[in-house]
């Protein structure tokens, strides 16, 4: 769909043209005495405009209403009555947008559940005012009898509410903003969703069903399914398609036009339900994402502060012996220059050496601390992987990355410390995930595959991704301490993994690398029952 910058110079003309076109196409039924349609999509157009551009949209909306009445609908009313009616419509809908106490914290990007709830509540209320505002001038001027007021106003209300609930959220999400934050769905699933909508419409409107109104509830099923899978953005599209489907269905099954208002009432319920469920689902995704970001931020901060603390006490522990080594050496020199006693000089030299050894000891104990040997035990690889995938899956889903796990069913247990195995798996999976999530162009399905092959005494586990691979010049230092290709990485992951694997008598290496992806493999000993 073409995007027009709202507020651009040509926008008013384009808006009017689209408005008249939509009005012409959808103004289709035996009209009552005045130009009211029980399906009024133009209302959805101008409400979207009012929501997106609260100031400045009113004159354009008024112009569109007047043009529509004069060019398309051929109203019987004189122009002054029309003008008053249309002015009241603009004021009714405008009130919800312009008056701060009514607008509250509504944001037209429908980014939060609150926004959708506001829309679903506000539209029917504003539509009451608009319906009365539009019809009353006819009664007051005597063009229509007063006893027609409730029926005509009700028809107007239903027409506007259903049009706005189907068209406006769709426009807000798809024309103006990029749609939703939900996970990507496969083409097959999209096709199934379309099929479900088509099937529900076909079940409702077919020659075998004498009265479609009796099984209209079938239409709720695809809406709820789509809302659950695609969130608000997908729901708005589905609701719009079903609404159009109902109009088309009614126009090809003769004899039901008079019940249009009844159908529309059911559709109002359907649209409201769908939008609310979709909003709940989108809200959940939004929270999942912000929770994930918060968690990542927290663990980064924790890591950095741990490093800072370690560095501080390391500096303290090393500076003491460095200071004394330097001090003793300088003192030795002074004594030698002065021709001091041999024994005193020897004593100072011994002390200097002892202090240098003390510094070496500090470094050794830190290395031992970092290379804490775990407690090896029998560990089930499948169970360990399942535990790790719990952490990986939300991010993978968000980036539309498929996770494939293919482990032999008869895999014997591994002999390793369970926490260290987690550390290896988490590191390799996270690396693959980052490689896939951060790359620019996507030209195929993103996938991370974990496989294992059983050997005589060892099992070889591979983590392969379809990412861009490791750049040629980065392969060499890949396992070096503090070497990293990530903006916030520390360059500890792969070296630690390798030293863990090697401590268990295994190997960790880059098994395959190229533009079609990287694959890391490692081996670990298995426990064979004697």
């Amino acid at each position: 769909m073409q995007r027009f910058a709202i507020g651009g110079r040509l926008f008013p003309l384009v808006f009017l043209a689209v408005y008249i076109l939509v009005d012409r196409v959808t103004f289709i039924h035996d009209p009552p005495a005045i130009n009211i349609t029980p399906w009024n999509p133009p209302a959805g157009l101008y409400l979207a405009l009012l929501l997106l551009k609260p100031r400045g949209a009113a004159p354009l909306t008024f112009a569109a209403l007047m043009l529509g009445d004069l060019l398309v609908r051929g109203s019987p009313a004189p122009v002054p009555v029309l003008a008053v009616s249309n002015l009241l419509i603009v004021l009714s809908y405008g009130a919800g947008v312009w008056l701060p106490p009514l607008r509250l914290r509504f944001s037209p990007d429908l980014g939060r559940m609150y926004d959708t709830v506001w829309l679903v509540i506000m539209v029917p209320i504003a539509a009451v005012a608009a319906a009365l505002g539009f019809t009353l001038p006819y009664m007051v001027t005597g063009l229509l009898p007063w006893h027609d007021l409730p029926a005509i106003a009700a028809q107007y209300w239903v027409g506007d509410v259903i049009a706005i609930l189907t068209v406006t959220p769709f426009l807000l999400l798809h024309v103006h903003r990029t749609p939703g934050n939900g996970p990507r769905r496969s083409r097959i699933e999209t096709a199934l969703h379309a099929l479900a909508v088509a099937a529900a419409l076909a079940v409702t409107f077919n020659p075998l069903v004498p009265d479609p109104s009796k099984i209209l509830y079938v239409l709720f099923l695809p809406i709820i399914w789509i809302a659950m899978r695609r969130g608000l953005a997908g729901t708005t599209a589905a609701v719009l398609v079903i609404q159009i489907g109902v109009i088309v269905g009614l126009s090809i099954s003769p004899g039901h036009w008079r019940d249009l208002t009844y159908y529309q009432t059911v559709m109002v319920a359907l649209a409201g339900t769908g939008l609310l469920v979709g909003a709940v689902v989108s809200e959940r995704w939004r929270l999942e994402i912000s929770l994930g970001q918060r968690r990542a931020e927290l663990s980064r901060v924790a890591r950095l502060s741990l490093i800072g603390e370690m560095a501080s006490s390391l500096a303290h522990e090393l500076n003491q012996p460095l200071f004394t080594t330097m001090g003793y050496t300088r003192s030795c020199r002074q004594l030698l220059v002065r021709g001091g006693e041999r024994d005193a000089i020897l004593d100072l030299m011994d002390r200097a050496t002892a202090e240098a050894e003390r510094a070496a000891g500090v470094l050794r104990s830190i290395r031992d601390f970092l290379r804490q040997d775990g407690q090896p035990a029998k560990v089930d690889l499948t169970a360990a992987l399942d535990g790790i995938l719990v952490f990986i899956r939300p991010d993978a889903r968000r980036h539309g990355i498929a996770l494939a796990v293919d482990l032999p069913a008869d895999l014997p247990p591994l002999w390793i410390d369970a926490v260290q195995l987690d550390q290896i798996l988490l590191n390799l999976l996270r690396n693959s995930l980052d490689a896939l999530a951060n790359r620019e162009k996507r030209d195929g399905p993103d996938r991370i595959a974990v496989t294992a092959t059983l050997g005589e005494r060892m099992v070889e586990v591979s983590v392969a991704d379809t990412g861009p691979g490791v750049p040629e010049d980065k392969v060499g230092p890949l396992f070096d301490l503090f070497f990293t290709t990530k903006p916030s990485g520390m360059g500890l992951g792969l070296p630690i993994c390798r030293s863990i694997v090697e401590a268990h008598g295994g190997r960790l290496w880059l098994a395959r690398n190229g533009p079609e992806g990287a694959c890391f493999s490692f081996t670990l000993p298995v426990v064979r029952d004697a």
């Binding site: 501080s312 500096a315 303290h316 460095l322 200071f323 330097m326 001090g327 100072l348």
Partner: protein, 204 residues
Amino acid sequence: MPEPTVFIVDDDDAVRHCISVMCSLAGVPCETFADGEAFMSAYQPTRPGCLVVDQRMPGMSGLELLEWMSAQAQPLPVIVITGHGDVPIAVNAFRSGALDFLEKPFADEYLLQRVREAFDRDAEARQRAGEQASVFTRYRRLSRRERSVMDLMVRGLANKLIAAELNIGIRTVESHRANLLKKMGTASLSELTRLHLRLQGKDA
């Protein structure tokens, strides 16, 4: 007056010994203590010198010892040394009156230079304190009337005005004036003003 001494407080045996070697090679007398409490019990206010204290120690920290020292009547200048310094600790040290804040490893010449500066500072402070004490002793020998006359003199009042202020004869003022100048051991008004300031604890 006894010779100024460096008092070293550090929990690390090697650091303590190393600094004492540096000092003895430079001919500076020094005494070492393994913790703040040991120094406090050996502390004698009359011994001049300076205190070199490690910031991080088990038990009493260097900063705590520094605060204790600042509260003494005749505090020694304090140099704080540390294995790993950060800005907040340094700021705290200076705020508590440390003369300097050194991070290990530092060169022995630098430490010795700072120690000598500290000695000079301590000597000046002690001299000033001694002067103040002697001025105070002299001031205490003045009679009440002489003190009143002195206060008015240093405010710049002429004998006539002093006589009017205290409601006494001008001759009496002149005799008080001669007596108090003698007792304070000075002949000039400007010197008397300086001593008066010293009495109030201000430098002149």
